[in-house]
Symmetry: D3
Subunit: 317 residues, 6 copies
């Protein structure tokens, strides 16, 4: 086990955000996207040593992905460049004030061709935490096998494995997801899911207590149920603990779940107790929703208390 705090892997996308309606043309801005990259960045901003692994196209868009990861201090030593396949893309449109719409162009992408071989060097180098999401196994057969292999390998080596369910309805059905994710959860110490997603790591139709009980039985130490503006619940063998969300003005909820997970894992790496880990989790979630972008608003360590006792319209000067 080296000095790396967190290793994660998956597909990093180039997100193209439309300023207005996509069908009307106009300007797009480019952003790095990907749930796993969000988590890695969230931890790197807090000073943890993190790395991201995966396949990235060899063209300029792949170069952009690496440029952003490096810029944020996320290690990319074990990234594979794919000379054949293009970068995975997503188009993000604010359809109305309340509704964001995403369109993926990721079929056949470099990232979706992830395989065990791509992850072997990174896993060999090791890390205290391995973070994975339910998106990666939905990308391809080889990515599914790579995810399972990585979870098993890290689990055996004693790393803490964290699984965020992150269901993507445009990639696979709930049944297909459950069939893969429920066994995968068996390797995890921490499982993160929204209320709606929880059933995907349990029996079909099982309710929250039942799914949680089964996960704890199978060796999961902590089950985190995210509740959006209502905060989160954390289940352990010691019972359940709730954490309220911070009262901030939300402007962009994309990435909030990843921020929550990054905060929780940062608390774990800092040796905080459950209350402290949850506090950091909801703090990062609050930063994520209070600023624009998937990860751009996440805090540096010296900013962690910035949202405490904040009045709307405050100015620091």
């Amino acid at each position: 086990m080296t000095g790396l705090d967190l290793l994660t892997f998956g597909e990093a996308l180039v997100s193209l955000r439309a300023a207005g309606p996509l069908a009307a043309g106009g300007a797009l801005t480019m952003h790095l996207a990907g749930a796993e990259a969000n988590v890695a960045i969230g931890l790197a901003r807090l000073g943890h040593r993190t790395a991201w692994a995966g396949r990235v196209s060899e063209d300029e868009l792949g170069g952009y992905v690496l440029r952003e990861l490096r810029a944020e201090g996320v290690g990319v030593d074990h990234v594979t460049r794919d000379p054949e396949r293009p970068a995975g893309l997503m188009f993000l449109e604010r359809r109305t004030a309340d509704l964001t719409r995403v369109r993926y162009h990721r079929a056949g992408s470099a990232g979706s061709a992830l395989s065990v071989e791509d992850l072997r060097p990174a896993l060999a180098a090791g890390a205290h935490v391995l973070h994975l999401t339910g998106i990666t196994p939905a990308l391809s057969d080889s990515a599914r096998e790579a995810t399972r292999w990585a979870a098993e390998t890290a689990s055996r080596s004693g790393a803490l494995v964290c699984l965020d369910v992150n269901h993507r309805a445009r990639l696979w059905t709930r049944d297909a997801a459950r069939a893969v994710l429920t066994p995968l959860a068996g390797y995890a110490s921490v499982v993160v899911a929204s209320e709606d997603e929880l059933e995907l790591v349990g029996e079909p139709g099982a309710d929250e207590p039942a799914v949680v009980a089964a996960l704890l039985d199978r060796g999961v130490e902590t089950v985190l149920v995210t509740l959006g503006a209502d905060g989160a619940r954390a289940y352990t063998r010691d019972g359940v603990r709730e954490a309220a969300a911070l009262p901030v003005t939300a402007v962009d909820t994309v990435g909030a779940g990843d921020a929550f997970t990054a905060g929780y894992l940062s608390g774990h790496l800092d040796g905080l107790d459950l209350a402290g880990r949850l506090r950091r989790a909801v703090t990062l979630g609050a930063f994520a929703v209070a600023g624009h972008g998937d990860w751009e608003a996440l805090p540096r360590r010296d900013e962690l208390s910035l949202l405490d006792d904040l009045q709307p319209g405050s100015t620091l000067r």
Copy 2:
């Protein structure tokens, strides 16, 4: 009567939206504006065959107007190009978060020179619905006569005539408007007005019940009173029916009334009952206020249910 679902006419303006205070200079963006064009686009997006008639300048700004109408699938076969007069313009400035200010540059414009001759071919081709607004007769004597002639001609041919009062205080006084619009309403099957505008199609100072009763007496089938965030009331001989607005976050209320009318007429063309027509009307109104622009946020047919049961901050992916 051909296969055209809706014909409308009036003045289509080039709207120049300021990013900041107009007096400070800076960037403007160009948009197509005009209450009648908004209605035509709203219906075209839902798959109805629509056409817009009017006079458009022969220069690049007139070309822009046609470009946008064609782009949205609105027929422009019977548009007259005016080689002499310039395009009508409006400057739109967000004066404060709550107040939008419009300045017109439309005196002497191509659109204001509309005459009976300009409309003759379009009326001859016919349509199931003729939509007109109280803006057009305020533009010039010839436009006033053209509006009256078109209403009479369509009414006689059996088309459903819809009149939206749309009072523009910078174009004429309430008394001048009433003197023209009250007789005009006699040709209409559907009359649309805000609470404040209703008195302009009735006796001076008459209250809502009195104006409605008089309109129904004169043969109007449906009187729609728009109530902004409070929805709308629809009066028929069978009584009154209310429809609540959809609970969305409003970011730009310009064009909401036109969207409402387009939704109502779409419901009519689809053969919906009054409740169904009102539901579609408030749905389109909700899209209009939940997105930026006068018509840019209006839904395609497959998007009609997108705002149902929506949580703020939702993401479709």
Copy 3:
């Protein structure tokens, strides 16, 4: 044969132009691209009735493609919407002042799935000219067969068939291209190629006179060899005629060849002699290179003489 002047088909792409280096992220602007669409727009701007056929994705990006074609007055009645496949994309980066770099994301796109069935209704409706390019047969087996079928069908029906070689090295090899394009040229009355491309519609390694002679022998009436800033050569049975390029300041050469072809075909439709057709061809080529965008700078009919005897820095007012 209906009243349509020109029918063309192929893949219309969403072109994303980077303001700066693509790898650095930043702003992109969206444009309609596609050699065949460029030709259709060039003719529509001059008042010819044109239509474009092909497969377009059913999402917002496909909507954008149709929006732009309609805006430019190009008929889209026979376009097929593809509910499964995404829009074809291209990223365009000005690598240096002298070098533009294009990256395609079109594998598996809606447009590349073009088949004979997609073209049948459009061909049945007919047109005076059918324009096709050597790009379409490079997209897929079905697109290749559709191209051949359309060329044969139009040729038999008496339409003038125009083939622009348009070699795309990232889509196929020169040998693969030659094997398809040389037989395809047999259906054409007009063949357009750059000096470098000419060999792809003849014997491997054949020189210009030899390729031209063989084409004329096989029934091609006009062979147009484009020479960039040096203008063009036109070969017919009557010999060769040269046309110089117009002396304009070039700022963006993308789309110049398509503009040239559109000008030539416009001259043909207007009944001009060869000199007149070439003059219009180089005129449209000059507009294309003197303005930004693939087709955005093309002239309306009343602008055709705008570049004649122009001094740099002129102002029309």
Copy 4:
């Protein structure tokens, strides 16, 4: 005493506003900033004759500062150009929806080198009101002495002296501020402070009644305590009067206090009673928070009633 209504002085900064996170790079926009300039502009927009004095760099950024002041009709006849020192800058970042962060680059700036000599000609010309803030004495020793000298000189000449405490924690400590500002308040007829700042013009730890009583004892005529969204309190020898804030949607609170002060002083110059002065103060404050920028949204005289009885989403046309 000349015809000038108000003279103010201090440091005018070039404010660079980031569109997104500052650390991510991207676009900045340039604005004039400075509490005293804000007040001068607020009064000039209402038609009062105002002037601003201070040191401004001789380069393009200094030219920008003067350009903006002149554009707003603020007199700059007595501004000193500094050929050696650079313009003072501030970077302004919207850290989250609720929190704005400012970073100053003003150490060693032209503005901070303000001295008595710079102010002598302006003071000699005179004005009905001299406005000064607690920012200027924090800039340098010479600026502190210049502020004191100007307050004393104006006070002696019979001008109304207005002091806005405007504490800047990044420039000096509360103790340092109190040591300078408490004696300075002795020259003032009007003192403006937030609840939190009030203690800086009194005894350490004194409560509001105590500080106010001491100020009134020392000859201050009016003490204005600003309460943000809760309006303001005005103390005179006749007692205390409260004014509620106008109910507007706040989008940018920077500059609200300066707008309040400008409104109050405008009311004074117009000869309004205390209620009228407070009404104008909260009106200008409302404009400031309802629009973007430090002063850009402030009203012209004919706009003063624009926010009265305003419904969200109103359109003036």
Copy 5:
């Protein structure tokens, strides 16, 4: 005669510059335009005291015009605000790299309603130089009379009157222009014209020597013939003197003639001899064409030598 160096008057327009093709919509930027305003700004940047008179709309666009004039230090004390008429507009489109196209929206504008009464106070205040152009008399009957009256009044008072022909083909015919401008030139000491315009201040069809001779006979002291990239010729009773243009890279020729005139008049005000006046004239012309905008690139006094001996690609640091 007061201390004012130059008074000028005319119509100041709001120029809306399109970033791309106007018919495609998109972004516009706002600029102050007007030949006379350009001259006033050119002189003000060099430190001369200048004023501009004319009618300006009372809305935000008129406010913008005044804001820009004040920002540049041009006196606006004698500007009339017109509460009824809108601002004059122009749309400016870079049609190709070599061709700029302007469309005016100035019929019925505030500026075109200029009358003798509007100018009376400014003329009473006086100035060393009165500058007028051949645009103003083309705007309306009252503007024509105002121009004539001002020229006569200033001439009688001993001011130097400068007339720049500035023919605008979209406003009037050459014959109409000649009928007005030839008598007007009789009041002038300095007449500025391009080669093509010269005939408009002489007999129809007269050549350059004939027109110049007649003008000098009628009392004109200096006739300046501008030659674009070839510089200029200056005729006086002492003969003709040529001045070459400075060798700079031209990016925007709009405003070059106004810059030339401003430079000439600045030289006159500084007491330079003819060679010195011409040198300053071509220097300002060079700045105008070497930067974007009508007047934005004009030099401050300390920048006058910046273009001397300049290598392309130089950096000052």
Copy 6:
């Protein structure tokens, strides 16, 4: 000596580029600037392992500097964060098409406080090449001593020391520069200077042969004299060799010299002979001037031949 190829140090600035005239306000874009950083990036893009050392402010602007260096793959392990001093800034304005103007705000900046202690860890880690410029010793006494110390230390350890004269007239006089740089050149193996700068590493007034001879005598192995568009001359004990510049369209010459140096050092690290090193030097110089930005257009290794035999207006697709 570790595996690091190149170490460099100095001040990295935040460059704010104005889109138009700086005095007119408007938009600025943020860029990383600094001659040494440019060289490090040039080498990193070609795959060499590089690091940059220096002092960087602890705020967001310092964060931006590190973000960009990391993004480009330049090592920042030995960078010192300065909690007190602000980031050094420069404003860059394209004054005319031919002239760029830079204004520094770097007095008292974090970067200018560089000292020996800041460099000690980086020098201890070692590198094959140490690159330094004549800018750093102009920043402060401690930076001058740090530069001298680093040059001496690296020279003793056997690293190749490269000195680029890079005279900045706004930072110090030529005499002051010569007094420092001439002794400094004694530690260097490679000295880079423009024709105009060469005299600053020799006797006052000495001509090129004399300065070169003296440098070679003192142990310098290669003297590179850059000639802008005329290429460069390289002097060694074996004589002089010339290299022509590549024939590209130049759009931005800032950073060309740094690119040249990076190319030369890359050739050295790759073991190329002098001709090969010069070829790479002029190739990188060509990329720098053919694209916008100081370093943004520099090539990746696979792009090195992209400009060979390029026709203007080429498209890669």
